[in-house]
Symmetry: C2
Subunit: 227 residues, 2 copies
DNA sequence: TGTACATCAGTGAACGCGCGTTCACTGATGTAC
DNA sequence: TGTACATCAGTGAACGCGCGTTCACTGATGTAC
């Protein structure tokens, strides 16, 4: 069952689901595999879910997988690339929603990132947090994709910190802004992954980790120039 | 081959390696399994290495595993418990090596934690960083072990920040100290796992992440009271 | 002290299972004439 | 416009492999008498 179209079989005369694959349909199927894999990999890790289940979630049988990807590793690379693009687009959209105040934009990012909702739904959350361990344990190509994404995050946060300094009239060297952006993003990712590591067993501690870190990061970003 | 003792077989007359298992020997074998599993799990993830390879590294064949542990999951719980104990002991030993200055102790911890050596050797590094993703993807019992360890880290860092404030004459509420300790440890763990995620593909970025975060954290801890 | 026997840790073959991957097949699409 | 045929995406059975786990066996240890 690759689509919802019914047709009368020329051969049997019975009404059956038949494949009717156009290039557009193929592209759509590939996108569904990618979405399914992105969610599965983020939730259970690259080694934690198989091709069969990914394809089933995408609405196909497992054999057709290799019409779209060379291997599971190839799929993982595509998920990393696609995943970071989506995450960075979200950051950019939050920033452009606060054109007047870079501080408000940063606070909005932190408030969206550091939530129990984000903690509980890695499947459509930040790629950097959900896939950080998988990237470290896979090959150099996966790490290269992760590096590209991480660089995107650091560039976005560095730019934001520079704009905050500019708007508040403080002086901030670009190299220092980049260092602070690195520490900031490290804390966001670290808090989120640790809150996920204890979410089931100790919800109070889990919530405390993200809330306390968010509070500190917002205070730190506002008062950075005063340091 | 469970030990290095040779003996003459009563039955064949040939010199063979024979098992000669005392309680002490059994305890030692269990400890070797635990060490081997701790290193394997940290480096490649709980799902990334099998019982067979763990037992081989420990110098035994795989069948004997179940004389020591009920299941692989049981082993993972033991690794988490043992691993955090070791990590927290190391933190405590660094602290007691700097009895005069809590600031010096914190800087020493950061300088040991945020290094390329620690990044490149998860097998004998911090349990919280190496196993954070595995804990999040395993059951509630694994998360409970992780939570116990995380609580130990947060308590240790909170105590250290309070002692720094005390020694510099600043006032610091315990609840605020705990929040700052949480953000601090989140940044340490986040920076380390991200630096591992790009270590092979982009050593420059990888080194930058730990160096920049370490620098920021030390500056932030020293100037925390001034904020 | 010596002998018989129960205990139990380690060995290595075997189990069922799920995985990533391959492959023969089906049938709709697109092209050639 | 209609017919014949090459193309190729999806199906589902099958493959080899490694995994976690089980089990019959071996032989040293410890205990009973």
């Amino acid at each position: 069952m690759t689509n919802d179209i019914e047709a009368v079989s020329h051969w049997t005369g019975r009404i059956v689901d038949v494949p009717r694959i156009s290039q557009q349909q193929k592209d759509s199927n590939r996108a569904r595999i990618l979405t399914s894999a992105g969610e599965g990999f983020r939730t259970r890790g690259i080694d934690g879910i198989g091709i069969g289940e990914i394809m089933k979630t995408a609405g196909m049988t497992h054999g057709g997988f290799y019409n779209h990807f060379d291997s599971k590793e190839d799929l993982a690379l595509a998920v990393l690339r696609e995943g970071f693009t989506g995450s960075l687009d979200l950051v950019a959209s939050i920033v452009s929603a606060h054109p007047d105040s870079a501080t408000a934009a940063l606070h909005a990012i932190i408030d969206i990132y550091m939530t129990t909702a984000h903690r509980d739904h890695p499947e459509d959350g930040c790629a950097s947090a959900a896939l950080v361990a998988d990237a470290g344990r896979h090959g150099v190509e996966a790490q290269a994709e992760y590096a590209r994404g991480l660089e995107g995050y650091l560039a976005a946060f560095t730019d934001l910190l520079l704009r905050i300094a500019d708007q508040t009239g403080d002086t901030l060297e670009p190299t220092v802004a980049r260092e602070r952006a690195t520490a900031l993003f490290s804390a966001m990712v670290g808090a989120l992954v640790m809150s996920r590591a204890v979410g089931l067993a100790d919800p109070a501690l889990s919530g405390e980790v993200i809330a306390a870190t968010a509070k500190e990061l917002k205070a730190s970003a506002s008062g950075a120039a005063a340091r």
